[in-house]
């Protein structure tokens, strides 16, 4: 338990200076950082012909995102299918089937990194470094860019609507060059130091000490450390190797585990600090941070408690007094239950999706908490999109809250009218529509979809898969055989809707509101940074998600728990 608390503390300590740095790096004031990073940025702008000071309307901003991501998806899709013919493929890995390649391209372009393939076996070094790693940098930068665009227009007091919401390419480039690249480089070096491979060599063939199983084992290599760094930092989660960070090659030591765990949470928390500074809304961000922290502590402690309980399937097979306590099935013994539970809950809270243990083997109630983290998806959440998602709920709370203080609905003093509410409602509706709709369709068409398990756990697996896709998380209940056209294509739908609708609707609302009148706040207006309003927002988040998903949870993890024999 102490190590869990210590890792929370490490993140809190590092996030404050990092947040201040991000605010400085992407803020409007020119400073020394511009001179320093201008060396890299100016040639980028010149080569691409982009004008970074050209302000975009929210529509143009959104369009730029859609165009760039469309192009990247097509590029990655073609690269994955054609990698067999391309260089940097020492292990002679063939091209991917079209549907797996499409799913993989979309999955990485949506910051999800849901993997229906096994990394080291199905992707060449070229695919990993050129397509995967590029997307792992571009997508978190995009999330943060949209967040900053919203902060500039919606959160900032006296924002000037005539200037648009900012310039996407400018925001994105600066986030990649000034924040993600230096940070990833630092973490990559630390991981290399801890023993994570950083090489372009082909697999090593190693003779086994105990040759009973296999005579020779093939140990796959690659520039792993650099990818793992951004995988952890960028709420990406897609590992170089199939078993992700549970395999020693990706996560070799206790220190590496601390670095990787802290990296999951670092930027999402730092962004709260950055936005507080950029928009000058400290009290609001402290309030939002408090709600997020409360959710995080509830979820993490629940998962930690759940995993300390024995696995129902193993009851009576070993003695608990033999030092083997808790549910160790599917976990690395070197991490134990607490650190696996911490990683599991953080990776689902932040939409990261990397794992150091198998979520499929968590106790039912532990697995349920992971699902709930992904339903909520704003417990710090993915880079940028976590806070954007929180703002979406905040808009709903502001609507109800304004009414309850006797004012026509407004958000930060700007009127929330039917057009805004229609889109906010749509963005909230999208989640149950996609997750419940696709889950129901999948279990209703067993011939088409093929599920791996029957009963409550089987339903949990299907639900988890679509929830993970919609939440842009990427982790899985890995017992599911998911590399089929059905899974690949339905997940593509969930990935795209889950990424772009909840991210772009708040941007649109910010774009609409910035041109409207803005009532100064006073005694008669809803205090968005008050404890009462934060309580309302937290209540809205809990109620919306509970009401939408409780029946599914009852038929999945809760059903499994109450019938398991142990009750959890």
């Amino acid at each position: 338990m102490n190590d869990v608390i210590a890792i929370y503390a490490v993140v809190a300590l590092l996030a404050v200076p990092l947040g201040a740095y991000i605010a400085n790096a992407v803020g409007e004031r020119r400073g020394r950082l511009d001179t320093l990073f201008g060396v890299i940025e100016t040639p980028i702008y010149r080569l691409s012909g982009l004008r970074p000071d050209h302000a975009m309307s929210w529509q143009a901003y959104a369009m730029a995102i859609v165009k760039l991501h469309g192009a990247l998806i097509v590029f990655a899709w073609l690269l994955f299918m054609g990698q067999g013919l391309l260089p940097l493929n020492p292990d002679a890995i063939p091209g991917m089937p079209w549907d797996t390649a499409l799913h993989t391209a979309v999955s990485f372009a949506t910051n999800t990194n849901q993997q229906h393939y096994s990394g080291q076996a199905q992707l060449s070094h070229l695919s990993q470094t050129l397509a995967i790693v590029t997307l792992q940098f571009v997508t978190p930068a995009t999330g943060a860019a949209v967040l900053i665009a919203i902060a500039r227009t919606l959160l900032k007091k006296r924002a000037d609507g005539a200037l648009g919401v900012g310039n996407y390419y400018h925001d994105m480039t600066r986030l990649v060059v000034r924040v993600l690249l230096p940070l990833a480089a630092a973490v990559a070096l630390m991981l290399t130091w801890q023993g994570v491979p950083a090489s372009y060599q082909a697999s090593h063939q190693v003779e086994m000490l105990d040759p009973q199983v296999e005579e020779v084992q093939s140990v796959p290599l690659g520039p792993v450390a650099s990818m793992v760094a951004i995988k952890q930092l960028g709420t990406n989660g897609g590992g170089w190797f199939g078993p992700n960070s549970s395999v020693p090659l990706e996560n070799p030591t206790p220190l590496a585990n601390v670095i990787e765990t802290a990296s999951i949470m670092l930027i999402p928390v730092a962004l709260l600090v950055a936005i507080a500074l950029i928009a000058n809304r400290r009290r609001l961000m402290v309030g939002i941070g408090a709600v997020m922290l409360a959710f995080s502590l509830v979820s993490t402690s629940a998962v930690v408690m759940s995993e300390r309980m024995p696995n129902a399937a193993l009851t009576g097979l070993y003695q608990t007094d033999a030092g083997l306590q808790g549910n160790l099935e599917g976990k690395e013994l070197r991490f134990g239950t607490d650190l696996s539970a911490l990683w599991g809950s953080w990776t689902t809270q932040t939409s990261n999706g990397s794992v150091n243990a198998m979520h499929d083997s968590f106790n039912p109630l532990g697995g349920m908490m992971l699902l709930m983290d992904m339903f909520v998806n704003v417990t710090f959440g993915g880079i940028g999109v976590g806070l954007i998602g929180f703002l979406l709920y905040l808009m709903l709370a502001a609507f109800i809250g304004s009414l309850m203080v006797g004012r026509a609905p407004e958000l930060f003093g700007k009127p929330l009218e039917t057009r805004e509410m229609r889109w906010i409602s749509l963005a909230i509706l999208a989640q149950p529509l996609v997750i419940l709709g696709l889950t129901a369709l999948t279990v209703a068409l067993p011939g088409l979809a093929q599920t791996s398990n029957a009963g409550f756990h089987g339903l949990s697996q299907v639900l988890y898969e679509f929830t993970s896709a919609f939440a842009n998380n990427g982790s899985g209940f890995e017992g599911l055989g998911d590399d089929t056209p059905w899974w690949n294509l339905t997940c593509v739908v969930a990935l795209l809707v889950g990424r772009f609708v909840p991210m772009l609707v708040p941007l649109a609302v910010a774009g609409w509101l910035v041109t409207k009148r803005s009532a100064p706040s006073g005694r008669g207006t809803l205090a968005m940074d008050s404890a009462a309003f934060m309580g309302l927002t937290a209540g809205v988040i809990v109620i919306v998600n509970l009401l939408g998903f409780l029946p599914a949870l009852v038929l999945g993890p809760i059903g499994e728990a109450v019938t398991s024999g142990t009750g959890f």
Binding site: L403, G524, L547
Partner: protein, 667 residues
């Protein structure tokens, strides 16, 4: 059953028409659910299982629907009764219409068109809303306002507006009709409370979108539940699923939403405020800045003499006596108040005889003084200090050295100085003070607590204005205001994002009334003012703006509170229905039944009964409105969250348990 109640039931049943239900998606889903249960009834009976249950649920859902349509019908009938009482007198009126050639013809009031001119004699009722174009008369407006004291209405002034049904007590008037039949203020107000033709207000529309979204979410939840349940081997009953759906969708707020809107309009009408649109009532709740005319709103209409201040080397008595004599023939309220004050200060009433046969010199805007020339040759004058000083100088007199200081002191105290002179001698100054209305300072305190900024508008000089502003407790004031300055001020406040309300009655107020987010015109005001405004006060009381704000806030708070309550209720309903739905196939799930209910059937029935009965139980809230007693927004939010959020979360548990206990013997 009385006729009125019978009508109400009739209206409620009429509300079930598909065209009516289509306006309200939440209730539409309930109606479809009802039909499904009715269809399931014979199937259930044929299969020998669940027929009675289906029928009971169907009837309960029908009751839910009728409660919702009944709430709307009740609100509508009460609103109409109020409006109806106001216009009762109007129906049988006849009018004498002036034709183009000046002839009079008798026509029914219903035939009058906008722009027609009618002549009304003393003792007659005014046949239509309009504007006096010729004449002045005292009018009894009790039919409209309930206030029987006659009021003066005059052509060409800011008090030229008259309403249909009011009675001319004196003189003859020519009135230009301002509205076609069916378009008068009251007709418009009635349209606002009539469910069928009622336009949804902006925030009501946005809330409807939200409720439709929630309904869709729950529809999805219930529909997708079927394949998921069957995948894990759980059989689901259609009727139970319908019950679950209806319990989850926001039927409470969905059912009461129209009634809340109508009740808001009727509350405005009960305060004799006629809104031209529902939006006007709603916007009143969000007002940030109130522009209030000093006269009539903050102070009683007239200034009164409160003090005589003599110049140095002048004794008090001559000042008092001259003030008295010069005011005896002065018909203005100020003049009369000087006489009253002089009498109170011990003037010899016999002195009045000196004024016999005197020539009265009336006040004019050019001379800015008035007075009398006595038969004895004495010239007594009173008026604006600089005008009197100039007059004294012209008579060859000398203005005393302390005169300016005296005038300044009185102005600083918020009073208007009236200088008094007799021939060459400047005697002193009368202080005319505004009398601040009783209780108005407390009102402003309340408004400040609600976060509303008040701005006093007055034609007074800045010194007087600031003194009155300080005494009355307004936040700001505009002195020497002109209609242009009012308009500019409104634009300025709006540019900083505030919603502005103002009161006016004159034609020159019309642009400002139109520009303001909430323009409240006095019914006695000119036609132009009444048209530019979006609300008209039949009592012509500018202080009504404060009531308008309260009514608007109440309307919005009621919607927000009941939405929160409706959603919070769902949590308990899940704990009732989910175990009931699955317990048969998966007995272990019975542990979710935290209330330990009698049986799945009784549990679901109890939840549906609660869901239905909560609508009529909350009708009083919807009609009366949730209280918005003076509190800051944060306090209001905290209180409403506690009552309607936490309360809404907890209340269903004991209630459903109670209903379950009552139902248990019958299942």
């Amino acid at each position: 059953m009385s006729k009125r109640e019978f009508n109400l039931v009739g209206q409620a049943v009429k509300g079930l028409a598909p065209t009516q239900l289509a306006r309200n998606p939440v209730m539409m889903v309930v109606a479809i659910g009802t039909l499904v249960c009715f269809v399931m009834t014979p199937i259930g009976f044929a299969e020998g299982e669940g027929g009675g249950f289906a029928l009971t649920i169907a009837l309960l859902l029908l009751a839910t629907l009728l409660f919702a349509t009944g709430a709307e019908a009740l609100a509508e009938s009460r609103g109409k009764a109020q409006a109806g009482a106001l216009r009762q007198t109007k129906s049988a009126l006849t009018a004498r219409r002036l034709s183009a050639d000046g002839q009079l013809e008798n026509v029914a009031a219903t035939e009058l068109r906008r722009g027609d001119r009618v002549q009304v004699e003393a003792g007659e009722l005014i046949p239509a809303d309009g504007d006096i174009v010729k004449g002045a008369a005292s009018i009894n407006e009790s039919a409209v306002t309930g206030e029987s004291a006659p009021v003066l209405r005059e052509a060409g002034t800011d008090n030229s507006g008259v309403s249909a049904g009011t009675k001319v007590l004196s003189d003859t008037l020519v009135i230009e009709v301002s509205a076609n039949p069916g378009e008068s203020l009251l007709d418009r107000m009635i349209a606002l409370v009539e469910g069928a033709s009622r336009q949804k207000t902006p925030s009501e529309l946005a809330l409807s979108v939200l409720l439709a979204m929630l309904t869709l979410v729950f529809l999805l939840v219930v529909v997708t539940l079927v394949p998921m349940a069957s995948f894990v081997g759980v059989e689901t009953s259609t009727v139970m699923l319908v019950a679950l759906l209806i319990c989850l969708i926001p039927t409470t707020i969905g059912g009461l939403l129209p009634a809340i809107g109508i009740a808001g309009m009727s509350r405005a009408m009960r305060a004799n405020l006629v809104a031209k649109s529902g939006k006007a009532v709603e916007i009143a709740g969000s007002i940030d800045t109130l522009l209030l005319d000093k006269t009539g709103t903050i102070t009683l209409g007239d200034r009164r003499a409160t003090d005589f201040a003599a110049c140095q080397r002048v004794r008090f008595e001559p000042l008092r006596d001259v003030a008295f004599l010069s005011s005896l023939d002065d018909p203005t309220p100020e003049g009369r108040s000087i006489v009253t004050l002089a009498s109170a200060k011990g003037v010899d009433v016999q002195l009045g005889e000196e004024a016999d046969g005197a020539t009265f010199i009336a006040f004019s805007a050019e001379t800015r003084l008035s007075g009398v020339d006595l038969t004895s040759g004495k010239q007594l004058r009173k008026g604006a200090p600089n005008a009197i000083a100039a007059w004294v100088a012209a008579q060859g007199g000398v203005v005393p050295g302390d005169f300016d200081a005296l005038v300044a002191r009185i102005s600083r105290d918020g009073a208007t100085p009236i200088a008094v002179a007799e021939g060459q001698t400047l005697l002193g100054v009368i202080a005319l003070s505004d009398v601040i209305k009783e209780g108005i300072a407390e009102k402003f305190l309340e408004l400040r607590a609600l976060g509303i900024k008040t701005v006093m508008i007055t034609g007074d000089n800045p010194i007087t204005a600031s003194a009155i502003a300080a005494t009355a407790g307004v936040d700001d004031y505009i002195a020497e205001a002109t209609p242009e300055r009012k308009l500019a001020l409104i634009r300025e406040e709006q540019a900083s994002g505030r919603l502005v309300a103002m009161v006016g009655d004159g034609t020159n107020d019309a642009p400002a009334l139109a520009q303001a987010d909430l323009g409240l015109a006095m019914n006695s005001g000119t036609q132009a003012a009444r048209e530019a405004a979006n609300m008209v006060d039949l009592d012509s009381d500018p202080g009504k703006l404060i009531s308008a704000v309260e009514i608007g806030k109440q309307l919005l708070v009621t919607r927000g509170a009941l939405t929160t309550f409706s959603l919070a209720n769902d949590v308990a309903k899940y704990f009732v229905i989910l175990p009931a739905l699955f317990a048969a196939s998966v007995p272990a799930l019975g542990m979710l039944d935290v209330m330990n209910l009698h049986s799945p059937t009784s549990a679901v029935l109890a939840a549906v009964v609660f869901n239905a009965l909560i609508i009529p139980a909350l009708i009083p809230f919807a009609l009366r409105g949730v209280s918005v007693k003076v509190a800051s927004a944060t306090e209001l939010l905290r209180r409403n969250l506690l009552i309607y959020g936490v309360g809404g979360l907890l209340l269903p548990f004991p209630m459903i348990k109670l209903f379950d206990t009552l139902i248990a013997p019958f299942v």
